[in-house]
Subunit: 292 residues, 2 copies
Amino acid sequence: VIERLGYRPSGIARGLATQRTGTLGLVVPDVANPFFADVARGVEHGAYAEGYNVFLCNTEEDPDRELAVLKSLEEKRVDGLVLCSSRLDEAELRTVVSRHRTVVLVNRLLEGDGVGSVLIDDETGGWLATRLLIEAGHRAIAYLSGPAVSHSGQQRAKGYRAALEDAGLYFEAAWARHCSPMVAGGQEVAYDLLTTHQELSALFCYNDLVAVGALQACSELGRRVPEDVAVVGYDDIPLAALVTPALTTCRVPRYELGSQTVNLLLDQINGCSGGCEQIVLAPELVVRASAP
Amino acid sequence: VIERLGYRPSGIARGLATQRTGTLGLVVPDVANPFFADVARGVEHGAYAEGYNVFLCNTEEDPDRELAVLKSLEEKRVDGLVLCSSRLDEAELRTVVSRHRTVVLVNRLLEGDGVGSVLIDDETGGWLATRLLIEAGHRAIAYLSGPAVSHSGQQRAKGYRAALEDAGLYFEAAWARHCSPMVAGGQEVAYDLLTTHQELSALFCYNDLVAVGALQACSELGRRVPEDVAVVGYDDIPLAALVTPALTTCRVPRYELGSQTVNLLLDQINGCSGGCEQIVLAPELVVRASAP
DNA sequence: CTGTTAGCGCATTCAG
DNA sequence: CTGAATGCGCTAACAG
């Protein structure tokens, strides 16, 4: 008791003895992206509530760096791992999972092994967004699909194509284009798309950052939004409501994504994963000025 | 060599033996704030380059939580600590510092002990912003100063008052008001200020989020920006260039703030802190539409 | 129920 | 220069 004179038990020694470190790993492509910043906040909050600390690792969209941080987290003996929007292929992912005690994937699915996933229903999200544009009378709708390796982007593409089909519209491959998931990526590809395909009257974007880039491209080309071309984003980051025109978008519960993930992870760590190994959260359409 | 069959040295055991864990602690008020997200990116990048992992801790602007995460980082035996925008008072800060091996403060100064600091020259920043408004002919300039405990806010206030004095203007206490450092805080206080002090023709804001809130308040009140009231922000987060009107603001090198901090910290850890224990980075005025 | 002891997996030291 | 012993600060299993 008299150890008030400055003593803290060593978590390191305890970790060695118990094989539990009280730490989690969180790997994301980029914390500066508002999407992942909110997920990180949710993860950190949930972890703190249960006495865990979390290692933050950025992969900077680089698979090699992702592999490297994953290895360092192995050495740190984290009790659990949150792998967010992994850019690894399925085989790599499988070995990573096998080398860690417990892992939960975010925005990604891995069949077979009993690894948990927390996802957004992106197919429905893509469908809702595209459907909105179709109902507004658009017939030539482009899809700026983000990174080719993005699982979310692929799911949204499914919804996009399904909505076109449901409306009896033809899917035009030239209207779907990959882009970097940031403002500059959206600006560049939207500019190119709008100049080479004059028939386009609507753009469905991978995320809000891409949509903001698309807005800029429209402005440069003198195309009015939403009169000449409608723009729909994804995520509903705070920025979406603040740009002009305000973005119509698909809201994703980012903080909840993080907190639910960490809850599932901690359940698995504590053995009480009640069979529930897959959580899917629903996106929600938010209609603003860019596509009324 | 044949340990290819899945073996990773235990960083835990190594940490126990060497008394160095290869981990750093990063404590920030809120990662979802774009300012701290960029700082975190800089810290993580620099740490990764030197083989360190970093624990991310949010204090959520709560001093008790700050103390709690600091304690948990002690137990984790981090090799170094980056304490960003601490909301602790000087006495608390001093004991925290004494209990950690090495720490570098960001946006905060602590005289006496040889603790390193990396800061923005916020007094100059406040001076530049206020000066710009004065030169544009404004005489009644309010200051929305953010949290009362913010060291940055206090420094910017000094620059604000100095610029007023330099121009022979009188400092009006009722024109300087604290607010939460987010959009809602700026909106609320700007609204109140503009309705109770009709003479105000310019608002200098603690950060860009507050400035965006001020923009919203102006819009609600039917005051045109910049014709009726000029607005200046701080930080130059990506959002600043994307709102309408685009924000005039004071750019802060956030990523560099993080990377320089971690470099200083690692130098101190390795004993080669070449006397350079205080780094101050310069802000830079960025003139856009909200205050030409 | 309190007090003692044997590892946890490394790095460091010392002897060979 | 290679190989075996000691201890880092805890927890868990054990004995008193």
